[in-house]
């Protein structure tokens, strides 16, 4: 078995073991062991990648190709570069943290963990696929369990939220499928055979008309899950109803599929379409950045605040991708990673606060620093990371994005860039507002004085997410070099 296919087979084995298991204790133990192995594998992959990279200068390494459906030339084709390696690492960390946070799940634990791991298969598969069709299949595998996870284990108007989320993402998938097929049917433009293989299509000069037509479809198809304004509205409701681990996985990992897909498919395969359309989507993403931040300012539900904050932060990812240069792209990937860790951490903390106080309404909370100091302190740290404080990953990512965006010197780019940069102030306001109301101040409710302290599994979940945030923030060079190296072929495609 090759090093990448293990990322699919290990979760499948975990699921088989889960099916045979009995009760919460066995189920969570199996899931933890399974995700722990996954984490080990992805750490191992980072080292393997570096040593492979030293001797192999292909765009993708650890490539493997098996014909899956001959008639349409569909392959199970996999391979990774620095970008996917980083995202695989993100995924395995968030999944393990999610399992730890769900340690005490009450209803149908077995089924819950199975769905969670099915979801992770979709994500792992998506990140290693080099074949458009296979990639699309994994994309759907990742989205569908979401419906069950929210609809069954969610809270509040869960059926409504689950339905809304699934329908909007499915609608986007439909658009995406048209885009992908459009690319497929133009992949013989240079006289070769029709193919779904990304690396092969990248060599083909897809006609300009086709690029202009299919770029927006592919872009929107992916960007909806990346919370592109105005298609972001599934996210606040979805997050609010989802159980903690699902919010973590969804915001931390699943939403990253959007930016990754835009980058890997829409921009890499349709570069001229990207150049032609970028101004339009830049406007949308810049609106998303500032709009999300302002919308977050007025919310009182912690999950809504974080959902809108994600709209803002992920708007920055799309914004950076559309800047079409290496520095901004590096920033986009770093921002994806950074947001993944941060938002998963936020949702984990929100879950812990909710479990103890039974409310997510910040106006009802107050003085939590005094009663649950560990959770509160980490919340402050996560907040500072989220508002782009140096020393945390968000700063590194944002600065790459801003410096990259500043490389364009016409007035349109200057204006949208300055609008996006301004979001750092609004972000500071909504973060400190929550910290001020919820964590500081006098303790509002006497019953809070007896809140349960943090448990070991919660603590390990939190630290698992915090370490990379600080690690990237303090020593970003190795990661950013790994990403920059992999960006080279994409830049060449664009020029």
């Amino acid at each position: 078995m090759d090093i990448l296919s293990l990322f699919i087979t290990v979760p499948i084995l975990t699921i088989l073991a889960l099916v045979l298991s009995k009760g919460l204790k066995q189920a969570r133990l199996i899931s933890m062991v399974g995700s722990f192995i996954q984490l080990g594998m992805s750490i191992n992959l980072v080292f393997a990648y570096f040593s492979e990279r030293a001797i192999n200068s292909d765009i993708m390494v650890f490539v493997k190709d098996v014909v899956w459906y001959k008639q349409f030339n569909i392959h199970y084709s996999i391979g990774v570069d620095g970008i996917s390696v980083a995202l695989l690492l993100l995924t395995s960390i968030v999944v393990l943290a999610g399992v730890l946070i769900s340690w005490k799940i009450k209803d149908l634990p077995k089924e819950f963990f199975v769905s969670l791991i099915v979801l992770s298969i979709g994500v792992y598969g998506f990140f290693i696929s080099l074949d458009l069709f296979t990639m699309f299949v994994f994309f759907e595998i990742a989205v569908i369990p979401m419906y069950l996870l929210i609809g069954i284990w969610g809270s509040g108007p869960k059926e409504y939220s689950a339905m809304k989320l699934t329908l909007m993402l499915m609608g986007a998938s439909a658009v995406l499928l048209v885009g992908i097929l459009g690319i497929y049917f133009n992949s013989n433009a240079d006289g070769g055979a029709l193919t779904f293989n990304i690396l092969e299509i990248a060599q083909v000069n897809i006609p300009l008309d086709a690029q202009k037509l299919f770029f927006p479809l592919t872009f929107i198809g992916f960007a909806v899950i990346g919370a592109l304004f105005p298609f972001h509205t599934w996210s606040p409701d979805g997050h609010a109803s989802a159980p903690t681990a699902v919010s973590m996985l969804h915001a931390g990992v699943l939403m990253k599929l959007g930016g990754y897909g835009v980058f890997r498919v829409a921009m890499y395969l349709l570069p001229e379409g990207a150049l032609d359309w970028s101004w339009f989507f830049i406007i949308l993403s810049a609106i998303g950045v500032i709009y999300g931040a302002f919308a977050a300012l007025k919310q009182t539900d912690l999950k809504y605040i974080n959902a809108y904050s994600s709209v803002s932060h992920l708007g920055l990812v799309l914004f950076a991708l559309l800047m079409l240069n290496k520095t901004a792209w590096n920033g986009a990937i770093l921002q994806s990673l950074s947001h993944g860790f941060m938002t998963a951490l936020f949702f984990a903390l929100i879950g812990m606060i909710y479990e103890r106080t039974h409310t997510r309404d910040i106006t009802k909370l107050g003085g939590l620093l005094k009663v649950i100091p560990f959770i509160s302190v980490i919340y402050v740290i996560a907040g500072l990371a989220s508002l782009g404080l140096p020393g945390f990953s968000g700063f590194v990512a944002e600065m790459n994005i801003f410096v990259g965006a500043f490389q364009h010197d016409d007035i349109f780019y200057r204006i949208v860039t300055i609008i996006s940069v301004s979001a750092i102030v609004v972000t500071a306001v909504y973060i400190l507002r929550v910290v001020g109301i919820m964590l500081m101040g006098p303790v509002k409710n006497d019953s809070y004085l007896k809140l349960e302290r943090v448990t070991w599994y919660e603590k390990s979940g939190i630290l698992l997410l915090l370490i990379p945030i600080v690690g990237i923030g303090v020593a970003p060079l190795w990661l950013s070099n790994m990403i920059l190296e992999s960006l080279q072929p994409f830049i060449q495609g664009l020029l």
């Binding site: 709009y291 404080l389 700063f395 600065m399 500043f406 102030v425 060079l477």
Partner: protein, 639 residues
């Protein structure tokens, strides 16, 4: 010169922070105090050694102080742009090391007494160490981005320390305000850095500041709205500096920041962090001076002068002694900005630059002393307000004497430290800009008046009968007072003009007797007036307040700047921007999506009737469809 050991100066407080921060619950308070003090003592010793080595042993080559840099790449942006982390040793960074070390050490020692018994004792020392680390990083920075990074870190330490009493709503609000106002100014700073990086291709101070370098020589190559883009960059960077140094109109956070514990006010909001803005302008001084013939530098001068005047007027009317000192700080910072703004470049022409740094140094000592003295008083009477004080000289002799020394120093009385540095500032202003000189001399008079107003109000004035008899603070608190008092006496005799000049070559400064005489007389008038008003209990002050009537009220209400800001944020940004966006999102954007969903359901409700099961209907549709298609095809065919 070997500078490798200097990296330890910031590393030690960082280590202390991590140690105290991570093992917060497990360390005994008594131990954490010692860890903090001794950690900083080590840094202070190294700083003083570095200063000695640099200024007296091997910093000079051919009579000119050299710049020593040791750095490594931290983050790559493009082929030319990257962030370095490193240390840069030049006269002003070494001087700042000394200032930060001395004041921070004194504040650490003082805090062991002042914060005794506080439940967050360990946390307090952890934050102090975090701040000191960030401040060292800031002054040692080798490039704009590094300074920005540590700039943000001192900002967050300030936030944490202002909000130290986090259960108190006013402290929470003050912390938030400080962070957000400075963050807003930092937005300007960041955009300035981005512009600077794009047009000059570097963030590096050494490259930027080179008078023969391309950054300075080519300033005119690109312009925007009538000004060079480099001037725009400098002005935006100055906005960042104005935010940290509480210049008009970004000053509103500083008085509120007094909600923090008093040692914090002394360290962060008087002596070190708030001078970061002045340091930043000084750091980029060659750029400010040469680009567009000093256009940006002129703005610095005006902003400084106006802030100095404005704050001094407000200081007279405040009744909370810490707020008086806060406005006093703002006023003195304005003085330093103003001095930089009127400075020339070569030799004696650069006296403004030298004077600004000199005043920064002396001010750090006497203002820290004033704050720590005020803290000692507050510790004794448990109130910040003048009305609760009076006649304390009998109970607190050491605090009284040291406070008097600091007051004389800030009032510019010879031979105390403030006299010498203030004199140089006034010389610079007199030589380069008469209007600013007059503002400066007027502010000097106001300064003497307001500082002796509180001095007499606290230690003389009415003899109050206290519920608990106030007593002198313990040695841990009075020792720093004595050290800083000594510095406030001898600090002025340091020949700054030999060490710190723009061209790094040094010059000989002489006391300008006519100007000094004028300044001292104005100061004396201020002191005497304050004595008449406040030394004995009388109602002269109220009478005069009535004479000024509405103007007095405006001043005591701080000219309504807070209200203006509140209006903009609460009424416009929250009510008119944020709330509508939040509603728009739920009602319009989401409404449309939900609407599409509902319409789909409705549409399918309607057309499902077509599946009626009646063969006649199907036949009709079939025939009708065929006819329509036939027409379309024939139409297409014939065209």
């Amino acid at each position: 010169m070997n500078i490798s050991y200097i990296i330890l100066i910031p590393i030690i407080p960082l280590a202390v922070f991590l140690l105290l921060g991570i093992f917060n619950q497990k360390i005994k308070p008594a131990i954490s105090g010692y860890v903090g003090v001794f950690g900083l003592l080590a840094s202070a010793v190294l700083s003083l050694y570095a200063a000695y080595q640099y200024f007296f042993v091997d910093g000079k080559v051919d009579g000119v102080y050299q710049i020593f840099v040791d750095k490594t790449v931290w983050m790559n942006f493009t082929e030319t742009l990257h962030i370095d982390m490193g240390i840069m040793i030049d006269p002003i960074s070494v001087m700042m090391l000394v200032v930060v070390s001395v004041v921070s050490l004194m504040v650490h020692i003082y805090s062991r007494g002042y914060m005794k018994g506080d439940e967050g004792y360990t946390k307090f020392f952890a934050f102090l160490s975090l701040f000191t680390f960030s401040m060292y990083g800031l002054v040692l920075a080798t490039n704009l981005f590094q300074i920005y990074i540590f700039w943000e870190l001192v900002g967050v330490s300030s936030y944490l320390l202002i909000g130290y009493y986090y259960t108190k709503p006013s402290a929470v609000a003050a912390a938030k305000k400080a962070f957000i106002v400075t963050r807003f100014a930092d937005l300007g700073f960041l955009i300035g850095i981005l512009i600077m990086g794009y047009y000059t291709g570097t963030f590096d101070f050494e490259t930027l500041n080179n008078p023969e370098g391309s950054a300075i020589l080519n300033w005119a190559s690109t312009s925007f709205m009538g000004l060079s883009v480099i001037t725009w960059a400098l002005l935006l960077i100055f906005i960042g500096g104005a935010g940290k140094s509480a210049m008009l109109p970004f000053h509103i956070w500083l008085p509120d920041a007094m909600e923090g514990p008093t040692p914090v006010s002394a360290l962060i909001h008087a002596a070190t962090m708030v001078v970061a803005g002045i340091f930043l302008v000084a750091r980029l001084f060659p750029m400010f001076y040469f680009v567009e013939h000093g256009f940006a530098l002129n703005i610095v001068a005006y902003v400084g002068a106006i802030s100095a005047l404005f704050a001094a007027i407000i200081a007279i009317t405040q009744t909370d002694i810490k707020r008086v000192l806060a406005f006093s700080t703002m006023s003195q910072l304005g003085y330093m900005m103003m001095a930089l703004g009127v400075s020339g470049y070569d030799g004696h022409e650069g006296v403004g630059y030298m004077a600004s740094m000199f005043h920064l140094f002396t001010h750090a000592m006497f203002k820290a002393l004033l704050f720590l003295g005020a803290g000692s008083v507050i510790h004794a009477v448990h109130s910040n307000y003048l009305k609760d004080m009076g006649g304390l000289r009998k109970y607190m002799p050491i605090t009284n004497i040291t406070f008097l020394i600091a007051a004389l120093a800030i009032a510019g009385m010879p031979p105390f430290a403030g006299f010498w540095s203030k004199d140089e500032i006034l010389v610079a202003a007199f030589e380069h800009h008469k209007l600013i000189y007059y503002i400066g001399i007027f502010v000097a008079g106001l300064t003497a008046f307001y500082i002796f107003r509180i001095y007499f109000g606290i230690f003389w004035g009415k003899d109050k009968s206290y519920e608990h008899k106030p007593k002198e603070s313990p040695l841990s608190m009075t020792f720093p007072l004595l050290v800083l008092a000594a510095m406030s006496i001898v600090g002025g005799f340091i020949p700054f003009s030999e060490f710190i000049t723009v061209d790094k070559a040094g010059f000989e400064a002489h006391l300008n007797y006519p100007l000094a005489t004028i300044a001292v007389s104005v100061g004396l008038v201020g002191i005497i007036l304050a004595g008449v008003f406040y030394k004995k209990e009388n109602n002269l002050a109220d009478k005069w307040a009535n004479i000024f009537g509405p103007f007095y009220k405006w001043a005591s209400d701080k000219f309504y700047f807070d209200e203006i800001y509140l209006f903009i944020t609460k009424k416009i940004l929250f009510k008119r921007v944020s709330e509508p966006i939040a509603k728009f999102d739920r009602k319009v954007v989401d409404g449309t999506m939900v609407g599409i969903g509902n319409k789909t359901v409705q549409a399918s409700e309607k057309i499902k009737g077509m599946q009626s099961g009646k063969v006649q209907d199907y036949a009709f549709a079939f025939v009708g469809g065929t006819v329509v298609l036939a027409i379309v095809f024939i139409y297409l065919w014939t065209n």
